[in-house]
Chain length 228, copies 2
DNA sequence: CAATAAAATTACGGTAGCTGCACCAATACC
DNA sequence: GGTATTGGTGCAGCTACCGTAATTTTATTG
């Protein structure tokens, strides 16, 4: 199941996957829709899992078979995980802009999800209203951090960095991931608070430019001896 | 062990605050210590609130009177807040290195309340080890971040930045705070994992240099018109 | 079409986090 | 001392979540 990457459906039920997969996708979709509608109507906290299940006509146990947590139904079934293709594209990237490429990969993984624009719209409305969900989504990304550090290290190696300063490379990789997390946090907050009118790509470009401006200003008076 | 055994370290033992406050601080400290030791011994998930309460000799109901959540006992009662003096020093800082100064202020605030460093270290290791705690801590810090954004904006104003591009300034302030948070996270991880031999000041300088190196690489092909 | 394997769904029971409430004990204030 | 606050506790209850085994649904094979 590693090849096509479709095993965890971003909800493309239609064509060839058989009746089983289609029903599965239908149930998942029904649960997500029920969850979001109910939350928009009654508020997130007052919606119980039982309510969602009743609306979607499944047993509560089934709910947790799909989403292991209540939050999951609101954020969407599949946590953002870059596909193998995206992995390779990043690791073998030739450019010097590791930070930009990493952010791009994460954003692409986020964008991979369901194309249902209406559901996305409602979900965005919900997240805008309940900040708890925003932090929830961020923590789903944070789960990947260790993995991302490994990816950055791989990229360093394939770019032929010397093996001698491996320790420095680990530090740098970790920092790249941390800063990328900041950029994602900034972008998502801006995105979900509705203060941005452009496309997601433009938003990312804006964020990357901003993070460079913010860090770029060198201190006017170099403290001790600069550059070690 | 009626009184002295737990003389409220990590909080303001406040010799003058009265018996009530002292007992309170003692109980809170006992709960936090019990929580962290138990988690280091048995793992976070297998530690129940009841276990912590039994070790700290309080009722489970009391536990939730102190920390509204299980997580709270592990993260500790009070996030570090800079003093008024530190506020002013930062806001009226004249240099261009806003990021460096902000990181400096946060670090100073951390150093101010020097509660039992051993407890801090154990807590830090736990937090980095358990992603659930990590995200929990980040969302707690997020509340503090709003305040920091305001501080950065104040500094911009006292530095006489034009009022016209207030929106841009808000964006920039927010990004400064986010990046500062990343720098702090990197520094603390490096510090408490024992991988750094120098002084805290040197560590901060190292982190700031690193974050600049990481973001410094300009994109090879500037897209459209930069410089919004 | 029938038999069988595999997978999804379900009911049931239980644990743990968390809360409101009312009561009692300790402390602060006068 | 007496009285008002405040902190600690037991109880009853709700909800998220999980292990397990039974039941139904789908896929497969002859």
């Amino acid at each position: 199941m590693s090849s096509t990457g479709l095993s965890a459906p971003g909800l493309s039920p239609a064509a060839d996957e058989g009746l089983r997969a289609r029903k599965r996708a239908a149930t998942q979709s029904a649960l997500e829709r029920a969850a979001i509608s109910l939350a928009l109507e009654h508020g997130y906290d007052s919606v119980t899992v039982d309510m969602i299940c009743e609306a979607a006509m499944v047993s509560p146990r089934t709910f947790f078979n799909y989403f292991g947590t209540k939050e999951g139904a609101f954020l969407g079934g599949t946590p953002p995980a870059p596909t193998d293709a995206e992995h390779r594209a990043f690791v073998h990237g030739t450019g010097r802009d590791v930070l930009g490429d990493l952010v791009g990969m994460i954003a692409a993984a986020l964008a991979d999800q369901s194309p249902d624009t209406d559901l996305l719209r409602k979900r965005r409305m919900l997240i805008e209203r309940i900040p708890e969900l925003l932090t929830g989504e961020m923590s789903r990304i944070a789960e990947l951090e260790e993995h991302l550090v490994q990816l950055v290290l791989e990229r360093f190696h394939t770019q032929g960095h010397a093996e001698s300063d491996t320790l420095d490379q680990q530090d740098e990789a970790r920092m790249v991931v941390f800063v990328a997390a900041s950029v994602m946090r900034y972008s998502m907050q801006k995105w979900f608070s509705g203060g941005f009118t452009g496309t997601p790509a433009e938003l990312l470009h804006h964020s990357l430019t901003l993070v460079r401006r913010v860090t770029g200003a060198a201190a006017p008076a170099p403290r001790s001896s600069p550059r070690g």
